[in-house]
Amino acid sequence: MTTAPAILQDDALAVELLVKTYVDQRERVRAVEEVSFVVEPGRFYTLLGPSGCGKTTTLRCVAGLERPDSGRIVIGGRVVNDTAARAFVPPHRRDIGMVFQSYAIWPHMNVFSNVAFPLRHAHTGIPRSEIAQRVRESLALVKLDGLEERMSTSLSGGQQQRLALARALVRRPKLLLLDEPLSNLDAKLREELRVELRTLQRTLGVTTLYVTHDQVEALAMSNRIAVMSQGRIVQEGGAREVYERPNSEFVARFVGTANFVNGTIVGPGGDGTHVVETPMGRVETTCPDGVTAGETVTLTIRPENMRVHASPPTATRNVLPGTVAEVMFLGEYLDCRVTVGSHLLLTRQHPTTRFRRGDAVHVEIPPELITVLSDRGVSGAQAMAEG
């Protein structure tokens, strides 16, 4: 049983030990298993994971669209779900705004009516005379002003996405929920809207819970990221922390690309490092505290953290001889695969470097850029969390 973090009064959102199961063809599927996290006011918090990991279900529980089996959800100090106390606030009484993956723009209303709907029907206490003003403000935020009378179905994908955002923000909710809002857009537009969305969120200071399967989106936008797998949060931290110190093969694989090399501890090296025997040869690196000789570990090495040299470099540590197996020019970088010992390493080199298949090369792996996974934990995780 995981212990839940203590809830502070001024947390914008706190989720405690959330559990949600479904019955699928007479089998009970556990979609969310004891998920707990806290989002501080004004922060951008992302649930990241592959499809079926439980991220959308978690978001829908926060929205109140799903009823959790157990757990507590607090939005802005108000308990909206507490199965122990049998408390459940229906979605329309929660102080939230939500953007759906399909945008869910009502096709029978024009742009203005779509945005005005929450003000008209949510008992916000806003006088009718002010609705038009508020709608215009909200549309101006997403740069859709002037399109009030257009039929919502005549908008382009990007415009529909902005419209959905304007509608979610018009009530000025305490919490903004975004369910993969950019995934239906083409790549260029997605990049543009990513920046716009983040800027807008920061300007308004609205606490945001974001769900995505796109690691680039998550890294670029979030204050904090929770990586989910099979209904659980497997790692939580800032973008750098999750990328540079993944605590499992799953996280390393899902967020970015990584090489995994199995090895055995030989003994201590210099500067508090250890020497690890691997199929590539001996490698020096920082290991989790308390490892002993003979223990097996997995080295995680990001492709961009290795340098491939045509002639032996001056560095003395972790320079391994190899043969270029495959070279692919990808414009922004060079995808260079090198056979080192009996292991094939994927590396990323600057696009100006030129190698050919069969070249004899030297691969340099800086010891501090290797993450070591062992049963005892992750190397460097402590330092990151403190820093």
Binding site: P91, H92, G97, Y103, A104, H108, F117, A122, R171
Partner: protein
């Protein structure tokens, strides 16, 4: 031989120059003209032919002038429209509400509504109407008798044989149809659209009124048009409920003009028929415009989320009985028929009648050669018509969907054109066609097969076209790339892949043909009776108990077929009424 060889080579060369699909197109076009345009031509031709004793080739507009100058015509028109929209006033609200409860709430027992609606497809319309007459009839109707007994009053409590009575019975007939037609649109609605109303702060009632119902409006309206058209052209209720009460609508007037009086006045009947065709065509045209507009409402839908079911909570005390109304409406007339089938002569339930219960009617059914022959005829005709229609519509659909021949839209139009024919009018049209043509099929089962083909071609198209659209074109192209000709591709790739849709179409058309009354009424002869015409005749002749036993047996057989259809359409979707 020496001469033959170059000749044969020349022939092969000539053939290879001819595009196979083009030949097919022409053949299909001619077949469609035969099935669709010929009857249309003959009904118009007959309507401008004077009803004189001696056959004449004179063309006249006298029939129309007579109709439009007679006040009766306007009364018939008014009756038809009051009847059609009255029936919808009952069927639409009830059917839409039930569909919403079943599709979008977590009300218990909703599977019963599905089952009931599908099994209602199995029961011939003429039989259902007779069942309701047995229940509600003014003299010996079971409910009238029971109320009379309970209140201790004499005379009839209410009279079924009135316009409100007709509207009630017809409205009840349409409830399962509206229900089934509304399930699809309600299911296809993106649940996010309602959820985003909830996250916008709108409560369940506001969401239902401003989002769900508003989004369903185009669908409701098009269903309304469709059922109104069906009611205008319907024959069973007007004939069995209206005529005894002296209430006449367009269809019954046509029937009377032909079947009663000194001689069949085909000219007048056809003129009425043309008026009816124009009415129906206008409705269907409006319907197609509406459904095309409805596609405007289609939105980008996300991944298939679990459909959100509204939690009815304590309201289930209301919604569950509402749902049970559907099975009740189907079962009541069947129970009335069952009761009648167990009596030596028709009498409402009473202690004495209970003592007379007997199974004698059932063995009698099998010994009656008329019944056995009608049953055989129905199976033959329905089987042949379903098979021919499905295969033909598959070919037509292929030409429309896949070929790039100019004029393929014409095929689609022609194949849907018979929708404008009310059954009775199509019957008259085919009668006139085959009396005039030197093709000796009048009085045989063949004329019924051809009539049913014309009538059900639009239904075949509604299954075939979407069935074909679902199949990736490249599956066919890769067969062509393997060096296989059109016919082999069609037979070994297209047909097998379309099989689920075609099987559903076959069963649906088979069921419709087994129950068909009005088309056959004008075309059958003593040797070619089919199920519905026999039931109709027996009821008219007052042989109610035997007819009931026969009807119950037939419905049981058809219910099994309908169940198979339910299974199939659960997978491949019911697209038509």
């Amino acid at each position: 031989m020496q001469v033959a060889l170059p000749l044969r080579r020349a022939a092969t060369l000539a053939l290879s120059r001819v595009d196979g699909t083009r030949v097919l197109f022409v053949v299909v076009l001619l077949a469609l003209a035969w099935l669709v345009l010929l009857p249309l031509f003959f009904i118009v031709r007959t309507s401008v032919t004077p009803d004189t004793l001696r056959p004449s080739n004179e063309l006249t507009l006298q029939n129309y002038l007579d109709l439009f100058s007679s006040p009766t015509t306007y009364e018939l028109l008014r009756n038809s429209l009051v009847f059609a929209f009255g029936a919808n006033l009952i069927a639409i609200p009830v059917g839409v509400l039930l569909a919403w409860i079943v599709e979008r709430t977590n009300t218990p027992l909703k599977v019963l509504a599905h089952l009931a609606a599908y099994s209602s497809i199995a029961i011939p319309g003429v039989l259902k109407v007779i069942g309701w007459i047995l229940l509600l009839g003014p003299e010996v109707g079971i409910i009238n008798v029971l109320i009379r007994g309970a209140l201790g009053i004499e005379g009839k409590v209410f009279d079924l044989f009135t316009m409100p009575g007709m509207i009630l019975v017809e409205g009840i007939q349409f409830v399962p149809i509206v229900f089934l037609l509304m399930l699809g649109p309600l299911r296809a609605m993106d649940p996010n659209l309602e959820e985003s109303a909830a996250t916008s702060g709108a409560g369940p009632l506001a969401t239902f009124l401003h989002i769900t119902m508003r989004l369903a409006t185009p669908a409701v309206f098009s269903v309304l048009i469709l059922t109104a058209v069906h009611a205008v052209e319907s024959f069973e209720v007007p004939a069995l409920v209206g005529l005894p009460g002296g209430i006449n609508v367009l269809t019954t007037e046509i029937y009377l003009t032909i079947s009663f009086g000194l001689r069949a006045r085909y000219g007048v009947a056809s003129a009425y028929g043309v008026i009816l065709i124009v009415l129906v065509a206008a409705g269907i045209y409006y319907y197609s415009v509406l459904t095309r507009q409805a596609s405007k409402y289609a939105t980008i839908t996300g991944k298939g989320l679990r459909p959100r079911l509204t939690d009815v909570g304590a309201w289930k005390l209301l919604t569950t009985p509402l749902i049970l109304m559907l099975p009740a409406l189907i079962l009541l007339p069947v129970l009335a028929l069952l009761w009648a089938s167990l009596q030596p002569y028709n009498a409402p339930p009473s202690p004495e009648a209970l003592g007379r219960l007997t199974f004698d009617n059932y063995p009698a059914v099998l010994q009656n050669s008329q019944i056995v022959s009608a049953l055989t005829n129905s199976f033959l005709v329905a089987g042949a018509a379903a098979t021919a229609t499905v295969l033909f519509s598959a070919v037509v659909a292929w030409l429309v969907v896949r070929s790039n021949i100019r004029g393929r839209g014409t095929l689609d139009f022609l194949a849907s054109l018979t929708m404008v024919f009310p059954g009775l009018v199509l019957g008259i049209a085919l009668l006139r066609t085959y009396v005039a043509l030197p093709l000796p099929i009048y009085g045989t089962l063949w004329i019924l097969v051809l009539a049913f083909m014309s009538k059900y071609l639009p239904y075949g198209m509604r299954f075939s076209s979407p069935g074909l659209l679902r199949i990736n074109r490249e599956l066919e192209e890769s067969a062509q790339m393997s060096g296989v000709g059109w016919l082999t591709t069609f037979r070994s790739i297209v047909l097998p892949l379309m099989m689920p849709s075609l099987a559903a179409a076959w069963i649906y058309i088979f069921l419709l043909a087994m129950k068909e009354l009005s088309v056959a009424l004008m075309l059958y002869s003593p040797g070619t009776r089919i199920l519905a015409t026999l039931i109709f005749d027996q009821y008219q002749a007052g042989r109610i108990t035997e007819m009931a036993a026969f009807g119950i047996t037939v419905s049981a057989i058809l219910a099994v077929v309908a169940l198979v259809f339910h299974r199939l359409s659960a997978h491949y979707g019911l697209r038509s009424a």
